[in-house]
Amino acid sequence: MKNFLKIKNLSISVEDKIIIKDLNLNINKGEVHALMGPNGCGKSTLSNVLAGKEGYNITNGKISFSGENLLKFSPDERANKGIFLAFQYPVEIPGVTNINFIKTALESNRQYNGLDPLKPGDFLKLIKEKAKLLGISDENLKRQLNVGFSGGEKKRNEALQLMMLEPLLAILDETDSGLDVDAFKIVADAVNSTRSKKNSMLIITHYQRLLERIQPDIVHVFINGSIIESGGPELAEEIDKNGYERFNNV
């Protein structure tokens, strides 16, 4: 599907400060886009707005997803329609076990989409299978959600949720940060395994190393709330080599 996610002339401000200016971005079904930019350029703002977080003032523009006006939906409706945000800093939720949380989220998603809940045995088999790929132990599945998890464990857990929920559009907000070399490979490979012609990805990152493992179709350079250049994977290589200096002068 063309223009699966379509962002048109989007401007966002927070407390009168303009964060995103006149942004245009189209992602087709099956495509992987990478958004690269320096700190504070508005990458996380964009991911939060796509997921429906409150506190942002959309001063202009439109966002459509799968042909519908995304902005009219609440965060949970967006999630159930297939948008998934892998958080840069996943929050801790005490008192809720990881496995129960994922089960509740999956059931909510299936119910919204008119599907029967998975049988407990099938769910258990599926989550254990996915967890194994990510090196998440049964013990960690029973722990409270993200409570006391290391940075790497939290990111693995985000990847596990991504694999279980099978979203149509995954937004990965600096999923590579806080991961050691081994965990990085595991998480990147897990994310890669979810890639298909039926879904899309928007990868937000500072570094090219993630894009070496999850090859994007298109790379966007995002500076001061605007996309100032788009290209193929070679653009990421250039940024890795020379930084953002050339783009700062555009």
Binding site: G52, K53, I93
Partner: protein
């Protein structure tokens, strides 16, 4: 001063009260002594520091001045053997009647109960219990009641006790006293879903190497006060108090927990979790008292309240009276609404606002009331 006060005049005029006191004649001297102290001290109001968030005197002003129907039912496993006595116990052990005053000398509700106690249960537990004892205190209708429960636990005994306080439309003023022998361990689950104005004063006296774990679920549908006084009589004892408070709309839940470290090497741990909706108020006073010569004490206090409505309020007053350096203490209080970052995280996984809030509140409750706790069955449906 007191005689001019209408509520005190009612209490002082015994003739107006029920005649069920006839069989208490042998204790009349002791009751008279308590009564004279009540006359001096009066019914608690906000002018007493310990009652600064509660005005009992005003609250009970319109309560019908008669005894209401109250029962204390003891349910137990057939295989468990322990003694159950009533007023006869105090007739035989008169020196035990005023024993609460040994631990607390200036408390109006204690004097009030000792003046008018009308319902007694005394349990003496000499051996380990196989199953929990359930003490079900039910009140009906208007009027007042003054139940008194005394539990003596011998040395080297493990026991589990559930208290259920329920019902009524009047005023319940209860004393519960638990004496725990050395090397004994008592686990208590207490439910308060009283619809009366409810005041309970709970004393525990801990022998050496003994332990009391009190888990409390309070869902009052009126004004409630639960005050706990733990006295560490001997070394190496431990008292834990963990409470969840979820008052009904326009209800008030008031707590005071006083851990009196009278012996060295003792530990206390106090925690409160409050979920406060429209028109509710919760107060939590926690006092740690460590005397000069007492060594190696550990005392923790922790309070967390979630305000779900603009018209909900929480008062937290941690206090520490510590007269030596050999103490480790910890205290912390957080009061606020639900963490919106957590709500958004759950929303972003497809859970709507109601489901997200439910999960977060269940998480807070589960810190103190686990899946295996008997109290879980009494949680309001939306938190189960």
């Amino acid at each position: 001063m007191a005689m001019k006060d209408s509520i005190m005049s009612n209490f002082l005029n015994l003739k107006n009260f029920d005649k069920s006191f006839d069989d208490l004649s042998s204790l009349s001297q002791l009751r008279e002594e308590a009564f004279l102290n009540l006359k001096d001290i009066g019914i608690p109001s906000k002018r007493f520091e310990r009652w600064k968030y509660n005005d009992l005197k005003n609250d009970i002003r319109n309560i019908e001045f008669s005894l209401c129907k109250t029962s204390i039912k003891i349910k137990k496993n057939k295989l468990d053997k322990f003694e159950i006595n009533e007023i006869d116990y105090f007739k035989k052990n008169k020196d035990h009647y005023l024993r609460p005053l040994k631990y607390l000398k200036d408390e109006g509700v204690v004097y009030l109960n000792l003046s008018y106690s009308n319902l007694f249960k005394v349990l003496t537990i000499k051996k380990d219990l196989k199953k929990p004892i359930i003490i079900d205190i039910q009140s009906e209708g208007h009027g007042m009641s003054f139940p008194r429960i005394l539990i003596n636990i011998n040395n080297n005994v493990n026991a589990e006790i559930q208290f259920l306080n329920r019902g009524g439309l009047g005023f319940i003023n209860q004393i519960t006293e638990i004496n725990i022998g050395k090397n004994s361990n008592v686990k208590i689950s207490r439910l308060n879903e009283s619809s009366s104005i409810h005041s309970e004063t709970f004393f525990s006296n801990l022998g050496s190497n003994s332990e009391i774990n009190l888990k409390n679920l309070s869902i009052p549908n009126n004004k409630s006060r639960f005050q706990v006084f733990n006295s560490f009589k001997d070394e190496y004892s431990f008292a834990e108090f963990k409470s969840v408070s979820i008052p009904y709309e326009n209800s008030k839940d008031d707590f005071l927990v006083h851990n009196n470290h009278l012996s060295s090497n003792c530990k206390s741990d106090v925690g409160m979790r409050s979920i406060l909706g429209k028109g509710t108020e919760c107060s939590f006073q926690a006092l740690i008292d460590v005397e000069n010569k007492i060594r190696n004490s550990r005392a923790d206090q922790d309070c967390r309240a979630i305000l779900l409505d603009e018209k909900a309020s929480m008062n937290a007053k941690p206090e520490m009276k510590i007269y030596n350096n050999d103490v480790i203490c910890k205290h912390g209080t957080t009061i606020g609404s639900l963490n919106q970052e957590q709500v958004f995280y759950l929303n972003s996984r497809g859970l709507n606002k109601f489901e997200a809030e439910k999960i977060l509140l269940q998480g807070i409750i589960s810190e103190y009331i686990s899946k295996n706790s008997p109290l879980i069955n009494f949680l309001p449906e939306k938190y189960k």
